[in-house]
């Protein structure tokens, strides 16, 4: 099972991961990213490259399937305006044993951060907004998997 969804409506881990536990494996691992209040942030806004986004996420899943013994994987990513506290991204993987699912989950979120064409803007309570800078630590984490 391979699932990629880019949604302008609220997402939930429960829906994103539905079915992963019914694939006959013994392990499901997941990561959920949540919009957080970094010093007065009221919402974030996510822009993406429609078409390339879906293709790049599916390619990450294909790569994960090639590297680990997976039964299923899912990436669900929110776009548009996301209020603080709402889910931004859910990544999940299912496998027979836990190591494959755990490592694949880390791979998927680490590489998503550097490879998938999303851009995040923070909106503040005083009405200002700022595009978020890419983090060197994200590049380091992603590079672990190459």
């Amino acid at each position: 099972m391979k699932r990629v969804i880019v949604s302008s409506e609220p997402i939930s881990a429960e829906v994103a991961l539905a079915g992963l536990s019914d694939l006959g494996g013994g392990a499901v691992s997941s990561f959920t990213g949540i919009s957080r209040d970094d010093g007065g942030v009221t919402a974030i806004e996510l822009e993406h490259y429609c078409g390339m986004t879906e293709a790049s996420l599916l390619r990450l899943i294909d790569e994960a399937f090639a590297r680990w013994a997976l039964l299923g994987a899912a990436i669900v990513h929110r776009v548009g305006r996301v209020a603080v506290g709402e889910q931004v991204v859910v990544v999940g993987a299912a496998s027979r044993h836990r190591a494959d699912a755990l490592e694949a989950t880390a791979f998927l979120i680490d590489r998503l951060k550097t490879d998938a064409p999303f851009w995040k803007k923070e909106h503040y309570s005083d009405g200002t907004s700022v595009w978020v800078d890419a983090k060197a630590t994200d590049n380091d984490r992603s590079a672990r998997w190459t």
């Binding site: 990213g33 996510l46 822009e47 993406h48 490259y49 078409g51 390339m52 293709a55 990513h77 931004v88 991204v89 979120i109 998503l112 951060k113 550097t114 490879d115 998938a116 064409p117 999303f118 851009w119 995040k120 803007k121 595009w131 978020v132 800078d133 890419a134 994200d138």
Partner: protein, 83 residues
């Protein structure tokens, strides 16, 4: 060629995409950026810090020295920040 802009690059130029006939002597993405930067003050502003630009040719991420070839779409954007 269709030029597609995202995030701060899109805001600086003021449009999401444009279809332009690039001069045929432009060989690489870097060549195209230098030419585009001379087209308007918005383009110049968007492309002033070239080290912070990333590119996709026909929706594949590629480095700045890549040949334009016969690609139909060049996207120009800041480093990605999803997740």
């Amino acid at each position: 060629m269709r030029l597609v802009y995202f995030a701060a690059v899109r805001e600086a130029i003021g449009i999401a995409f444009e279809d332009l006939d690039l001069p045929t002597h432009l060989r690489t993405i870097e060549d195209a950026i230098d030419w585009l930067a001379a087209q308007s003050s918005g383009h110049a502003l968007a492309f002033q810090d070239k080290a912070r630009l990333r590119f996709a040719l026909d929706q594949e991420m590629v480095p700045a020295d890549s040949a334009l070839g016969d690609a139909g779409e060049l996207a120009i954007f800041p480093p990605v920040t999803g997740g």
